[in-house]
């Protein structure tokens, strides 16, 4: 306990209780500042401004997203990038953010910094995201769209039948609703992806 003797030596007039309380308050204050800064940082990386801060996103997938139903609609409710592409659950959120920090390497090395390069890698990027959305049962879609809250009678007969089947079989939303906010890449779609359980 060298650090404790050192601390006592520096403040010889302080009692043990005062020193202990000061230490606890200090640790709490530093933890609070770090947690707050971390939470702000995480929240900042979820903003639309952050996501389109790089031209790779702004000029490609964001440009495609503009004008789609998730961007503009009669009720004015929008889904921004993070709503669909970042998990809301704490552990899954941190895992995804860690993965995303590796994706920064792609930005720094210019992996998709031209339209041509982006097009070349579009399919593999789409497959990654489809795979994630299939594995979690399209949780980010279902954060807003709930089978239980759907008024089936307001849907077309076809939509009603498809949704009933999807609900019964536990089909993830992305199996059918892909390419709705971004251009569809050339290649097999989510239904054809073989996902290991």
């Amino acid at each position: 306990m060298g650090w404790w003797s050192n601390l006592k030596q520096r403040c010889q007039t302080c009692s043990r209780v005062t020193l202990g309380a000061g230490l606890v308050i200090g640790v709490l204050a530093v933890s609070f500042v770090m947690l707050t800064a971390g939470a702000y940082g995480l929240a900042w990386t979820n903003t639309e401004e952050f996501c389109i801060g790089c031209h790779e996103m702004r000029d490609n997938v964001y440009a495609e997203f503009k004008g789609t139903i998730h961007d503009k609609n009669r009720s004015g409710v929008r889904a921004i990038c993070a709503n669909c592409h970042v998990p809301h659950e704490p552990v899954a959120l941190i895992v995804r953010k860690m993965q995303a920090s590796f994706e920064v390497w792609g930005h720094l090395t210019g992996k998709i910094d031209t339209k041509e390069k982006f097009a070349k890698h579009r399919y593999e990027m789409a497959v990654k995201e489809w795979t994630r959305m299939k594995k979690n049962g399209s949780q980010e879609c279902r954060n807003c769209h709930h089978f239980e809250a759907m008024e089936a009678e307001k849907q077309t007969e076809k939509a009603r039948a498809r949704h009933a089947k999807a609900q019964a079989q536990g089909t993830p939303c992305i199996d059918c609703h892909f390419g709705i906010a971004h251009n569809e890449p050339d290649g097999p779609g989510p239904q054809e992806l073989k996902i290991a359980p």
Binding site: K158, C176, F178, E184, Q191
Partner: protein, 109 residues
């Protein structure tokens, strides 16, 4: 020489390549979107209905391709989905040129 040039020109103009070049892609995609085709079809991926690429492959080199697709997209034929019969929706236009443009778009995938 002149005859040969005319012949080559005629072949080129009637080739599938020429048909593809005549497609107004953005107009076709806009009408496809407006008509809700993408709810059941996709350009290259599997959905409830065949992908446009599958349809293009099915009709490749067939003389009746355009006529067959025109009928399919304008007369609400019955189609089988999951073993059940349902009515196929028509394109949301009566304009023949717009319909033919969509057909050319699908066949050129």
């Amino acid at each position: 020489m002149k005859e040969a040039f005319r012949l080559i020109l005629a072949i080129l103009l009637t080739s599938p390549l020429a048909a593809a070049a005549q497609v107004d892609t953005s107009a076709a995609e806009a009408l496809i979107k407006k008509s809700g085709c993408m709810k059941c079809h996709s350009v290259s991926a599997k959905k409830e209905g065949p992908s446009f690429k599958e349809t293009a492959a099915k009709y490749k080199g067939k003389a009746d391709a355009q006529a067959a697709l025109f009928k399919h997209l304008t007369t609400n034929p019955k189609v089988k989905v999951d073993g059940n019969e349902e009515m196929h929706d028509s394109l949301k236009t009566k304009n023949e040129a717009e319909i033919k443009n969509v057909i050319a778009y699908i066949l050129s995938r």
